[in-house]
Symmetry: C2
Subunit: 442 residues, 2 copies
Amino acid sequence: MTYEPDETHDPKRQSWVGTANGHASFPIQNLPFGVFSPPNEDARGGVAIGEEIFDLKRLLEAGLLKGEAAEAARAASGATLNAFMALGRDARIELRRRLSDLLTAETDEGRRAGGQALRLLHKAAACTLHLPAKVGSYTDFFAGIHHATNAGTRMKREPPLLPNYKYVPVAYHGRASSVVVSGTALRRPNGQSKLSENEDPIFGPSRKLDIELELGVWIGPGNRLGEPIPIARAGEHVVGLCMLNDWSARDIQSWEFVPLGPFLAKNFGTTVSPWIVTMEALAPFRQPQPARPASDPKPLPYLWDDADQANGAFDIDIEVLIRSESMRARSLPPHRIVASNVKHLYWTLAQLVAHHTSGGCNLQPGDLFGSGTLSAPERSGWGSLWELTDDGAISIQLPTGETRTFTQDGDEVILRAHASRDGYVSIGFGDCAGTILSAMPS
Amino acid sequence: MTYEPDETHDPKRQSWVGTANGHASFPIQNLPFGVFSPPNEDARGGVAIGEEIFDLKRLLEAGLLKGEAAEAARAASGATLNAFMALGRDARIELRRRLSDLLTAETDEGRRAGGQALRLLHKAAACTLHLPAKVGSYTDFFAGIHHATNAGTRMKREPPLLPNYKYVPVAYHGRASSVVVSGTALRRPNGQSKLSENEDPIFGPSRKLDIELELGVWIGPGNRLGEPIPIARAGEHVVGLCMLNDWSARDIQSWEFVPLGPFLAKNFGTTVSPWIVTMEALAPFRQPQPARPASDPKPLPYLWDDADQANGAFDIDIEVLIRSESMRARSLPPHRIVASNVKHLYWTLAQLVAHHTSGGCNLQPGDLFGSGTLSAPERSGWGSLWELTDDGAISIQLPTGETRTFTQDGDEVILRAHASRDGYVSIGFGDCAGTILSAMPS
């Protein structure tokens, strides 16, 4: 399977949408899909372009699409993109090409569409963004090897990585119902924790509410129960990516998680960025898999594909920023606390898909994967507060003089991602943000 | 919250549906809800009565329901019962009462409905049964204390139960997409396993394909994200019960499950019985919580409700039967290998709901819980082959002279449940059955 940059990535391509040209996240070379509501209108699919949203429903109504592109836009014009995800790669590529042409400044199509800009475009700031799909099932992997290593070190394991780590793309099933779109405030969870070995557990607000810097992976079309997706075809079942904050209550987690893994510690909310940055948009930013040293064991054949190894990793800068209530009051911008990169994934996305389905489990359009925390090797790139602060032993300094070990009520946490490469226009994912509300009375 | 038997449980009540009277599972005192397709017709909701299914869609069309009962039947007349589950307890009770009257032999309503029997009833054997709901999220608990004890013993833990067991209703998120209705054949999964500590892992068909005897719990209406359901109201969010076989590939499980719990070992398929036996139908079979000895620690207040403790457990006999290919060839009936009871649940259903939502996680209509394996204290009631055979060390004898440690291809495994109590008519759940197909070529 090839992921070659094409004319949609041409850096000379400019849009008639003025805010798109030079936009840090949404130039015409990106064209991520999402679901939005214009003021007082129903939710429908759209594409982010600069500071605007290109309305797929209105585009269809205007008769500017035909054939496979029209079919794809129709599937993307309702309140979720699940039907669009079900169509698969070819239809998505066709629609993307057509949208790129329609948004380009100097083509006939572009001029026709630009003539209807008032009808086809909405100011993003005036719209409400929704989850791009009804999440069928959500699976969280553990594929950030430096995070897994840090976790083992904190648990005093020697060697820190468990014996299965380099063979099995370890994962657990997460909670689909509590996946929320960026901007949704989340309540600090109450839960059981055990403050010391000799005390009884208590119930109350989490004292160690943490974040996890993850990549989100949107799935479609998927497979039937009992019919695994072979690794060579696995990439076709990834629609695109988002950022994902796997909020984690560490005190609840450490008491509840044996023997069956995390449950309430992580199911009170998972935040995703609203736009699906497609595999097509990301083609220029692929690279050979760098996280697996050549000395590591070679994965079993069902997880190995030479073509996938050659370009299955992504060079995408990712970061975590925090903005406290008092920073907002003083109009200070969010403060960056983590800088990492998606290349620290130990497994490729195709390996995650192939593994997930290898026993017959069925993936469905709208399923979501989390990558696992994408920590960099060095501390400045550790993707959770638990790692960054040595479980609360070290404080992080904010520009106000405030300090943080774990999050406090009122904190807003923002994940961001940007991909860039010489010769190509940089693209971004859009914010994955959430603010913490105080816990319910317990 | 009370669960008192009422006139629908009157043992003198007989139905004009002849096969219902004396039926081991579906007398008029049961009236479980499900989804079925009559031959060449669309799926719709129905109620099992003897060897027939009472068609809720046709009942509506016939104008035999009005008010809240009609509204409930309308919500139950589509291809899933999610909308019916969303309505809540009062609407369900109202519909149940009305259905009981309509199916009774000696009432005016019964005579009116009986006069249209040809239109309103279908032979169950001629219909296709479906999953009763689109499963939103599936959560599997670990609330069978004797199974948890056996697991700890097998892992050589002393004491066998982990320190959190009697405080936390331990659970993990399961896979919703692969929940299938009874009768669906399942492929033996391929997966990674490690045959000995010094060998590399291999990939191939599971050699330890096991079953788990669990109760399934259908949820509705549920709660909003961030708004826990208090224990005193938790019972209102349980629609009813089914049997659930949590198929488990033990060899895959033991290699993959650290540190995040079971994943591929359990997500290749979970079988449920098709009928939802309502909380109302089960009212006579409630009893005080017997699984928790008085000497055990008292649960934290968010998990404690005196009324719930007084009648939160169920006396329901449950069993596992097996039928090999060669038993089918010789027309031998299924052979019982396990006999246990739902009373071995350590936590009540209300406690499971209250715990699941205590941190704010939202439950939705159509969510499904598994109870965890409901082993009895004695070996004859151990609810998995892993326990029964000491992980394959002891064989089970079948009537053909065949032996089993774990399942073999072609085996059909059937879970059954019946509740009985002096002075009441016994009711059953209907089979939860699945046959194992050979693995895909790996």
